[in-house]
Symmetry: C2
Subunit: 191 residues, 2 copies
DNA sequence: CTCGACAGTTGAACTAGTTCAACTTTTTTT
DNA sequence: AAAAAAAGTTGAACTAGTTCAACTGTCGAG
């Protein structure tokens, strides 16, 4: 069943009993999306935290010059949300778009608060997950500053081969922060 | 007393009783550092989480080409640590250096674990703090991609006037990810 | 108070990456 | 199967930011 992946994801971060895992999963509701469909649109309030069971998403923002900046991709076993908008109920700067037909598990705000209250260990779980996320963002920033576009490209495709094989070059360029023309030239050039 | 700032920092994130705040603060021990002293050196394991009571720090890494990338600055009321190294007891990639004579409050790993166990609400507190940190890192990445060096410079000095006034231009350039020569040219050019 | 060590400035040559435009290839829609 | 739309390629001109080198200003240690 589709909740096994979610349980495994939680278990990677904290050792939880099968019954507790079951209880937590009750709060998450499945939703399917067609390719290109938006789970969240810039300007809307993000009313969910989501976990990808199947498929692939792109989380991006469009700046005032019309450039698309891809914050990250989320394939199977990744989390998906605008935490800022979800926590503060403010309009989101982000778009979350399915890149292929996909399935997610969603929890809404009221249920998330209830989940924290009912099972305090969930606070620990998400504390650990959030701290790991901070580390990942710090490392990404360092890579952006000390690697060239070419180095960043190879780091990405080698670190996430299964995700990158699903993506168009335009999407990858948007993630690396370079033009898709330049990515094309990188790929042509010798390694 | 120096714990008031720490209590206020916690209270910004979660409403806690005065006695609980007092109990939590017991775990944090003061330490003073002289200008230029290192609180953490690249390669060491980070054995503390720290909170700046007075002074200013620079958290940076040196890549294999010798470039210094400044991850962030921490002045009064900021947190200070390598979470990755602290959580996993792995050698840190980061240096934490006092930019002036400074005072910090530190908690070590065993005490942090004890703190979580003794006061489960501290999990919620640090869950919220970590989630806010994630949001801040995401926004920084977006700014790095969609703003020019000049725009990033003015954003920084306007957002953190009290921190930036303490910093050398070299330190600011390291934070913005540009050469200090180019920052000098930015400052000379008309706004 | 002065000497040495940094911090900042400036200019010239350079380079990583952008932009635009034209073209080809692949994918999607009908 | 054809048409339309989107993705990828290539080249030429450009620009934001780097690098190096020489110079100037500042400030803390003796």
């Amino acid at each position: 069943m589709s909740y096994e992946l979610l349980k495994a994801n939680f278990s990677k971060n904290l050792d939880l009993s099968p019954t507790l895992l079951e209880d937590i999963c009750q709060y998450f509701k499945p939703k399917t999306l067609k390719k290109k469909e938006l789970l969240l649109r810039q300007g809307q309030i993000c009313r969910f935290e989501g976990f990808v069971v199947e498929g692939c998403f792109r989380i991006f923002t469009v700046d005032n010059k019309g450039n698309e900046i891809t914050l990250y991709f989320a394939a199977e076993d990744w989390w998906l949300m605008d935490i800022d908008s979800f926590m503060n109920r403010t309009p989101s700067d982000l778009n979350i778009q399915a890149l292929e037909d996909s399935e997610v598990l969603l929890i809404n705000r009221a249920d998330k608060i209830d989940l924290y209250n009912s099972f305090p260990v969930v606070e620990k779980l998400f504390r650990i997950m959030s701290q790991k996320a901070v580390v990942a963002w710090q490392k990404r920033l360092i890579r952006n500053h000390c690697l060239t576009a070419k180095e960043r490209y190879f780091h990405f495709v080698e670190t996430y081969p299964s995700i990158s094989s699903k993506l168009t070059d335009r999407a990858i360029a948007g993630y690396l922060g370079i033009s898709h023309e330049f990515l094309s030239k990188i790929k042509k050039s010798q390694r």
